[in-house]
């Protein structure tokens, strides 16, 4: 199939359209604005809706309304904007509403900067908002995966009735690569018998709601949601294994950091150090099985992150701290060079885990 040269942000937008999304609500913020710009150009010609909201607070609630009405809806933003959306994402989780939310991360905290970052890992994988809940967090590392995983995100959202986040970063969003705009096969989807789009006088009224005042009932609803989360953890975790078969030193990296890590793995092997890479494509659920298996053969792990040691906690949990886990961190919009990751590999190979 023909490949076209596209920005990551544009590939996300076109993939959403391929997946049947015709409703986009957003607010401008660097470095994700191309998603909105692309949607504003394409959606009106497809009979869809592009709407620029007054804030991220409003845009996520518009997504909530459109989702409740039964359509595939999405929004995109970058770190500070996602913080503003956290209320709405929590409500969507509580209401069991599907939606796709894109976070093209930039440096923080606060207004931070506009250069690429992975500092929203905790936010995406622990809880994007208040209350007991998760969102599925997908991590592409190339423009092709921006397209493929965005389509998967819509299916996952519909199947599990939960918000799904694409966690990218400024590099992935802004860089151009050849991409095959292929429609990935749609999964079997459950009927949406819960939507609020009018009873047409044919059924009792549906209610989309997250208020449950009786604690016994609220606890049970959380139990039920976590049963679904368990199913997601068992069946949806994805991880790329790169040269891990005989690896002594296993790197853990996702997104842009994983691309640089691959170069470092090759450089280490050229020096006779058996390095490998585990690359989670799902950050929640974290691919625990891959890491648990690696803990049996690897001598040590290195979490390579554009953040101050966030994913490293999941690496330690998944490996049950059976082997040392070192941190190779850049932050604030700074990006690792392959050489500094290689230096870390050499250091760890020499028994220095600090």
């Amino acid at each position: 199939m023909e490949r076209v040269l596209m920005k990551g942000n544009e590939a996300i937008a076109e993939a959403a359209i391929m997946a049947g999304c015709r409703h986009f609500f957003g607010y401008p913020i660097t470095p994700q604005t191309e998603v909105a710009a692309y949607m504003s150009k394409r959606l009106p010609k497809l009979g869809g809706v592009y709407l620029q909201a007054e804030s991220e607070v409003a845009s996520i609630n518009m997504v909530l309304g459109a989702s409740a009405a039964g359509v595939r809806a999405m929004t995109s933003s970058s770190s500070p904007g996602i913080s503003l959306m956290s209320e709405g994402i929590s409500y969507m989780a509580g209401c069991d509403l599907p939606a796709v939310i894109v976070n093209i991360q930039r440096g923080g905290p606060g207004l931070g900067g506009i250069q690429p970052s992975q500092a929203d890992y905790f936010q995406a994988t622990r809880s994007v908002g208040h209350g007991d809940f998760h969102v599925i967090a997908l991590s592409p590392n190339c423009v092709q995966e921006m397209s493929d995983l965005t389509q998967s995100a819509f299916d996952l959202a519909d199947i599990y009735r939960c918000p799904v986040m694409i966690l990218g970063d400024g590099i992935l969003g802004q860089m151009m690569e050849p991409v095959e705009l292929r429609r990935i096969p749609e999964r079997e989807l459950p009927a949406k018998d819960w939507i609020t789009s009018g009873t047409a006088g044919k059924r009792g009224h549906n209610i989309v709601n997250s208020l449950i005042l009786k604690p016994e009932a609220l606890e049970q609803s959380n139990f039920d949601r976590f049963d679904r989360y368990k199913l997601i953890e068992e069946s949806e975790a994805l991880c790329e294994e790169y040269m891990t078969d005989d690896a002594d030193i296993v790197l853990a990296a996702y997104g842009a950091a994983s691309r640089i890590s691959k170069n470092a793995v090759l450089a280490a092997r050229a020096r006779g150090i058996k390095a490998g890479l585990l690359r989670p494509l799902t950050l929640w659920p974290f691919p625990k099985k891959n890491f648990a298996a690696a803990a049996a053969y690897a001598q040590a792990f290195i979490s390579v992150e554009m953040s101050m040691g966030q994913m490293i906690e999941d690496v330690k949990l998944a490996t049950e701290c059976k082997k040392p886990v070192a941190l190779c961190a850049r932050t604030g919009g700074m990006v690792h060079s392959p050489d500094e990751i290689l230096a870390k590999i050499i250091s760890v190979n020499g028994g220095n885990y600090n």
Partner: protein
């Protein structure tokens, strides 16, 4: 012969509202309008955070419970997804004029084809009687125990006057439900608001000056008197925008 019965759009359940509260009357007016315009089957209502948070249990149409102040944004999402349907929000003064002021103004600025039922009783009811963005100058509440001091707490917001300045607002009327005459006028306004939406017109809002006997610390009858003597002079009843009649 039956001369008075429950509107079909109103669910046959007991409500949680306090005795003497005007929410019950307002719910009934909405339900009557939905019945008379035959809209219930294609209507989606949005409940706020506030005393009416559980309004989703009281109407027979599909309902969504929104975050505090976000009802106009949720309504926008619903309406843009299913534009042939009727969408209304039901919001109190704190929800609409404080935390949701941006969502309200921008829904009006865009001329969203939704109907807002705005219940203004000049106090936060659900949380136990705090100062609202519409509390009157000098009004004593739990958080303005010496009376609302406009020097530090600012002035009450006149929502209909504000929205009337926006071209996206198709219809804005302030009514009350403190007398039989006013209830009848309120009914006409609510029905007109839904009718305009059904015709595909822009945003319609009906502000309903209401009581809160519990948190005002007055009997239902004295609350109605206080409303007439204090609220209506500050919030004059009437049509503030009606582009259908211009």
């Amino acid at each position: 012969m039956t001369v008075f019965e429950r509107p079909k759009a109103l669910s046959d359940v007991a409500t949680h509202y306090c005795p003497g509260c005007t929410h019950g009357i307002i719910h009934r007016l909405i339900a009557e309008a939905l019945d008379e315009l035959d809209l219930t089957g294609r209507t989606v209502g949005i409940a706020p955070v506030g005393c009416a948070v559980m309004a989703y249990d009281y109407f027979e149409c599909d309902m969504i419970q929104a975050a505090h102040g976000r009802a106009p944004a949720v309504a926008t999402g619903v309406k843009r997804a299913i534009p042939e349907n009727i969408v209304f929000t039901y919001q109190g003064d704190g929800d609409l004029a404080a935390i949701g002021a941006a969502e309200t103004l921008h829904a009006a600025a865009r001329g969203e084809k939704i109907t807002i039922i705005f219940v203004n009783n000049a106090i936060y009811g659900m949380t136990g009687g705090q100062m609202a963005p519409t509390s009157l100058p000098g009004q004593i509440t739990q958080t303005s125990p010496y009376g609302r001091d406009v020097e530090s707490a600012g002035y009450p917001i006149k929502v209909c006057e504000l929205l009337a300045t926006m071209n996206g607002t198709f219809y804005a009327e302030r009514v009350s439900v403190n007398t039989v005459k006013n209830v009848r006028a309120a009914k006409n306004a609510v029905k007109k608001a839904f009718d305009y939406q059904n015709q595909g017109k822009g945003l319609s809002i009906v502000e309903i000056i209401s009581t809160c006997p519990t948190n005002w610390g007055l009997s239902p009858q004295k609350s109605l008197d206080w409303l007439a003597q204090n609220m209506i002079p500050y919030y004059p009843l009437g049509v503030y925008r009606d582009r259908g009649a211009e």
